[in-house]
């Protein structure tokens, strides 16, 4: 009802304009994300730490900025990797690097600073090493606590509903 009365008051044109602005905000955000992704050669250049396995360096809810690039991985670098067939990316430190002469293929072993054992238990069964193409990026920048909202929304899905609901209600009652 309100939509109709609004259309009468402001005209169809201004409504369309509003829709266009909304769309352009959405697409430019998407473009920035994809551009960053292209620049860093990483499928997700910004990640939120989900576990405490890198404590005390990184804790749950910290935001990491990644850069993947094309150069080989060095030992001691903190990397984000995603094992094939496993959905969750993991932030851990590279402890062993073996680089083959001819192919330049790298065999990497990772470990979390806060874990006692290396990551072989997290890899696929029978997998001893991870490869360069399983690495999403190396950690280059770090902002603490900034991703806490994501963690809360993950832990309590109701929060997401409440937030969306308030946003909808606010947009209904706002007059600009």
């Amino acid at each position: 009802m309100e939509l109709l009365s609004n259309a009468k008051k402001y005209g169809v044109r201004s409504l369309l304009l509003q829709g266009l602005t909304f769309l352009s905000v959405l697409t430019s955000a998407f473009m920035i994300w994809k551009g960053l992704s292209l620049f860093t050669n990483s499928e997700s250049p910004v990640v939120v730490v989900l576990s405490g396995s890198m404590k005390p360096a990184y804790d749950r809810g910290d935001i990491l900025f990644l850069h993947n690039g094309y150069s080989p991985i060095a030992v001691g670098e903190v990397v984000v990797y995603k094992i094939n067939d496993k959905p969750i990316p993991i932030v851990h430190r590279v402890m062993k690097v073996h680089t083959e002469n001819e192919t330049g293929k790298q065999y990497l072993l990772t470990k979390g600073d806060n874990n006692n054992a290396d990551d072989r238990g997290l890899y696929n069964p029978g997998q001893m090493w991870i490869q360069r193409d399983e690495i999403i990026g190396r950690v280059k920048g770090f902002v603490p606590y900034a991703g806490m909202g994501t963690i809360w929304m993950n832990d309590y899905p109701q929060l997401k509903m409440v937030l969306l609901g308030t946003l909808c209600v606010l947009s209904l009652f706002s007059n600009d």
Partner: protein
């Protein structure tokens, strides 16, 4: 006039942009802060044994060769602590060339240093914390081995600048062949 929501929105956006600017300034200036750490690593001995350690995920671990190092570390890293240093991740790597592999680099010891008081390292006759073995089962044909101390500062906020490689590489003698 402005209502309370608009005022709140204004304050929040101003706070956010100030915070962003601060984050950028802090990130860019932290790597420029000077520090003069001292560090020295001395290697006493290298012993090679066969298959004493058992890694449940590694089927070859029982029959592989392992090197056991004995080393001293003297380092004073307290000058690397500035107002934006959360911790220093200190680690020692062994790197070597083996047939078919031009770089092998393995962390053999690490320590998380969280304060200036912990930053004065004086280790005597320490052994490697992590197993040192080749990708292949044995150390045959392994040469040009080096021992290097790396320091990786982790800031409270900002860029992960790398002040590693601030150390002197040491050559370790080629591990003796395990008795056949």
């Amino acid at each position: 006039m402005y209502n309370i929501l608009q005022r709140l929105g204004g304050i929040t956006s101003f706070a956010m942009s100030t915070l962003m600017a601060l984050i950028v300034v802090i990130s860019l200036t932290t790597p420029l802060l000077p520090s003069n750490p001292t560090h020295e690593v001395t290697l006493h001995s290298v012993q090679t044994t066969t298959g004493r350690m058992v890694d449940p995920f590694d089927r070859t671990s029982r029959s592989a060769e392992y090197a056991r190092l004995t080393f001293d570390v003297d380092a004073d890293l307290s000058s690397m602590f500035n107002w934006n240093t959360k911790l220093l991740f200190a680690f020692i790597t062994a790197d070597f060339v083996s047939p078919g592999f031009d770089t092998n680099r393995v962390v053999i010891w690490d320590r998380i240093i969280r304060s200036k008081r912990q930053a004065k390292l004086r280790l005597r006759k320490h052994h490697n914390k992590y197993l040192l073995r080749n990708y292949a089962m044995s150390f045959r044909g392994v040469e040009a081995a080096n021992l290097t101390l790396h320091i990786n500062p982790v800031p409270y906020l900002g860029i992960m600048y790398d002040k590693s490689m601030v150390s002197i590489p040491f050559s370790i003698p080629r591990p003796e062949k395990a008795s056949k």
